[in-house]
Symmetry: C2
Subunit: 226 residues, 2 copies
DNA sequence: ATGACGCTTCGGCGCCGGCCGAACCATCGC
DNA sequence: GCGATGGTTCGGCCGGCGCCGAAGCGTCAT
């Protein structure tokens, strides 16, 4: 009995639009101040404070004091995975053909907690699969021998010495899997490092730089429109 | 914007104790009638009807008419995964030492949508890992060459011809991974087939038969208490 | 046909929870 | 010190939603 009530309590925390907005804003793994989150949720600071308190009490958020600011971030990767799960079920928006500005950028490339998603994320997964560097299934994936060598050369080999695992993560905009897990995180990290992509303010969308455009083309054979 | 509101809408469906109870009751993949679900949720049939309508509208449940009964089941495996995700975050119940009857049975062995969880599920994962039949990581896993042969002999080799993938699924009671994915489903299916375990009424807990006790011991070296 | 049963719809009650204005601490800069 | 800014707490308003009783279809049995 207490089982499902805890489920309900946790889910109820996501069930409010304001709180969902806040969590969505934190999905890229960054830590934001209470005020920024209030803005993201379109509520006043005092309302936001109440929501943040509940989310922290529920164990979904971790708070960190720094001077007179207070930074909130997702409490763990588990919370991010839960949100991805809900997103996957919430599914594609109901056939709304109106492609609004910000949405298009999000669809091209964005971060998903700690890895890349959107067309870029899916294209990377496709490229690595097509070249036999990784083998992807419905429930998991693995890096091949030659894939391991390729990743080492690229500078994105996570946790050397341990087996490298990757996990497909269903993309809510493309409805196709992209790479998550340690591999996905390492790939994204390396791309930031190389300056191929850059974070932007106030959005999870990432910008693909000129160097990135060339690099993705040369290394992965990816040519993204625009 | 419409993005997070859809998340909130979906999550709000799980945020009600009655609806959470219903979904939890459906987690074993079976289809139940509206009345059974009303009983599971501890509400009157008319209240349950309202909830079921909302869950179906939200795409979480699929309904099927049969005579004067109406069977509801989870709309897809995605919904089950979402629930697992929420359970993982909702976490272990807050140190309630009172081990009540039904809870103990659930902790011993239960179904988790289509695979096995609880002590039995974790023990199976451990046994297969210890014997080198599968390699498990934080984000995915794979079946080894000898593991494949072992599974073929055991009669639980899913989808021959395609690569066999397995996915670790965090156990909410044991806080350790057990086997989900196609491999987990095939294992559970084969155990039911052999009569080692049996479903029970009104609970996701499964009973371990005498044959099962002997079989798990002989084949996997698993000796479960009680 | 008549009744029993399963399920749903409708109407009204009551409570929980989100929202904001105002006031209250803490920190920073001068 | 003193004001400005970020953040939280308090109080009251109000809308929404869960809940049930009663009544309305469909289906099955006799």
């Amino acid at each position: 009995m207490g089982d499902s009530t805890r489920i309900a309590a946790t889910a109820a925390l996501l069930g409010d639009p304001a709180r969902a907005n806040m969590l969505a804003a934190l999905m890229d793994g960054r830590a934001l101040t209470a005020k920024e989150l209030a803005y993201a949720a379109h509520v006043t600071p005092q309302t936001a404070s109440g929501h943040l308190g509940k989310l922290a009490d529920g164990g979904l958020l971790a708070a960190e004091k720094q001077g007179r600011h207070r930074y909130y971030r997702l409490a763990s990767a588990l919370v991010g995975q839960m949100l991805e799960g809900v997103m996957a079920v919430a599914g594609p928006e109901p056939a709304r053909a109106t492609t609004w500005r910000g949405g298009e950028a999000l669809r091209t490339a964005r971060t998903c907690y700690d890895h890349l998603a959107g067309r870029l994320g899916v294209a990377l997964a496709d490229a690595l699969t097509a070249r036999g560097h990784v083998a992807l299934g419905a429930d998991g994936g693995e890096v091949t021998e030659q894939g391991q060598r390729f990743l080492d050369a690229f500078g994105a080999s996570p946790s050397p010495g341990r087996r490298v695992f990757c996990r497909p993560c269903l993309d809510w905009s493309e409805r196709r899997p992209h790479l998550a897990g340690r591999l996905g995180a390492a790939l994204a990290c390396r791309c930031f490092e190389l300056g191929w992509i850059a974070r932007q303010r106030d959005t999870r969308a990432v910008a693909i730089t000129a160097a990135g455009r060339a690099g993705f083309q040369a290394t992965f054979g990816i040519a993204l429109a625009t």
